[in-house]
């Protein structure tokens, strides 16, 4: 039995149906901090001490978002290794491709890149929110990033994600209350 579409039904959907999940423990907060600090340090260190003069970068905005997931929400399906690596690399490739398709119309390239990255991550079961950022960054650049072309998908994206993953595997499993990952495949 279908209800007739009416304005009230549509806006009613925006009301919200439940509560937000409970606050995490102090231990969780602490280990999230430690994981993110240890994970981001190698990327920042290498980037700022070795890569500034070069054509390469290792630290991009999307890694801050990944840190939230793989150190702060480690049981989420979005934070698992498959999603981290798969989501970033697939989105990076899509981002670069979209930029090269519309290099003079970034106002089109940006939304197309992000939207297509999301759809592709859904299709490959690699949904990872920072992937959307990786795709967007490929379009909005810096010039250094635009110049990388498809290498962007390996450095910084693939390599950075990999380094963060290794740290996550080591640090997340130290406390008794935590384990990582939930699944590989």
């Amino acid at each position: 039995m279908n209800r007739e579409f009416g304005t009230m039904t549509y806006f009613n959907k925006m009301r919200g149906v439940t509560k937000s999940p409970p606050q995490v423990s102090l231990a969780e907060m602490l280990w999230s901090w430690i994981g993110a600090f240890v994970g981001m340090t190698p990327l920042a260190y290498i980037n700022y001490n070795y890569l500034i003069e070069s054509d390469l970068v290792l630290i991009i905005g999307s890694f801050g978002a990944s840190a939230v997931l793989i150190y702060g929400a480690i049981r989420s399906p979005l934070a698992q290794p498959r999603n981290l690596i798969g989501g970033h690399v697939i989105s990076a490739l899509i981002g670069v491709a979209t930029y090269q398709l519309f290099p003079d119309a970034l106002w089109i390239a940006a939304p197309v890149a992000v939207a297509t990255a999301i759809a592709a991550m859904h299709a490959t079961k690699t949904l990872h929110p920072p992937g959307g950022a990786s795709a967007l960054i490929a379009v909005i650049g810096s010039d250094k990033i635009h110049a990388l072309g498809y290498l962007y998908a390996i450095i910084p994206v693939g390599l950075g994600a990999f380094i963060m993953l290794v740290v996550a595997l080591i640090v997340n499993n130290i406390p008794n209350s935590r384990r990582y990952p939930e699944f590989w495949i």
Binding site: R75, S76, E182, F183
Partner: protein, 202 residues
């Protein structure tokens, strides 16, 4: 009284595959792994069981139309009542409607069986050993002669949790519920408990 954890009568045998199937049926991305969902489900289920078993009280689940007898009634009358209503036990009341005893099948078996153990099969054993098969000796006795007394009773505000513990410890199948003035107000049987665990109480 030793309080045990109650095992739910309804199985919590949910598998990760059940969860996966359920997730497939729901449109949209659910940000939880099947394993985590199962873990939450089991905790939440236990939580609900504890909450309900402690909050549902005798008054909510008891039967109020109670068939009863008095001490002076004949055992024939009591047996006919039990047979007609398809029940296995009766509270015994005095003229003030206080519960003075319980009469159940076990009391009959105790009188009829060999070695004074309370089961139907003990009665059959006695029969088959040719030691007498009848309840003739009971013809001249009254309810008061063979009933169990004093009876175990509960109050209207006794929780299902406690009642289940009582059934377990005293090995009984029914318990009369009395009100604040000690008068019979209802009866709770084992099957009422099972129904409440399956959360059919609204």
């Amino acid at each position: 009284m030793v309080k045990k954890t109650l095992t739910p009568q309804c199985p919590v045998d949910i598998s990760e595959d059940d969860v996966l199937q359920a997730m497939k049926a729901i449109n949209g991305f659910l940000d939880i792994t099947p394993a985590d969902f199962k873990e939450v489900y089991i905790f939440a289920y236990q939580q609900a069981m504890d909450r309900l078993s402690k909050s549902i009280v005798a008054k909510k689940i008891m039967i109020q139309d109670v068939v009863s007898v008095q001490k002076e009634d004949s055992l024939l009358h009591a047996a006919e009542l039990m047979a007609d209503h398809g029940i296995s036990g009766l509270p015994v009341l005095n003229s003030l409607k206080n519960v003075v005893g319980i009469l159940s099948e076990k009391d009959f078996f105790f009188e009829m069986g060999e070695s004074k153990k309370q089961s139907f099969m003990r009665v059959i054993v006695k029969c088959l050993k040719n030691k007498g098969c009848t309840a003739i000796s009971l013809r001249n006795q009254t309810v008061g002669d063979i009933m169990t007394s004093p009876p175990v009773t509960v109050r209207e505000d006794t929780s299902v949790f406690e009642i289940a513990n009582i059934f377990d410890e005293k090995k009984i199948n029914r318990v009369p519920v009395v009100d604040k003035s000690s008068k019979l107000s209802g009866i709770v049987t084992r099957s009422d408990i099972v129904l409440s665990y399956c959360m059919r109480i609204t």
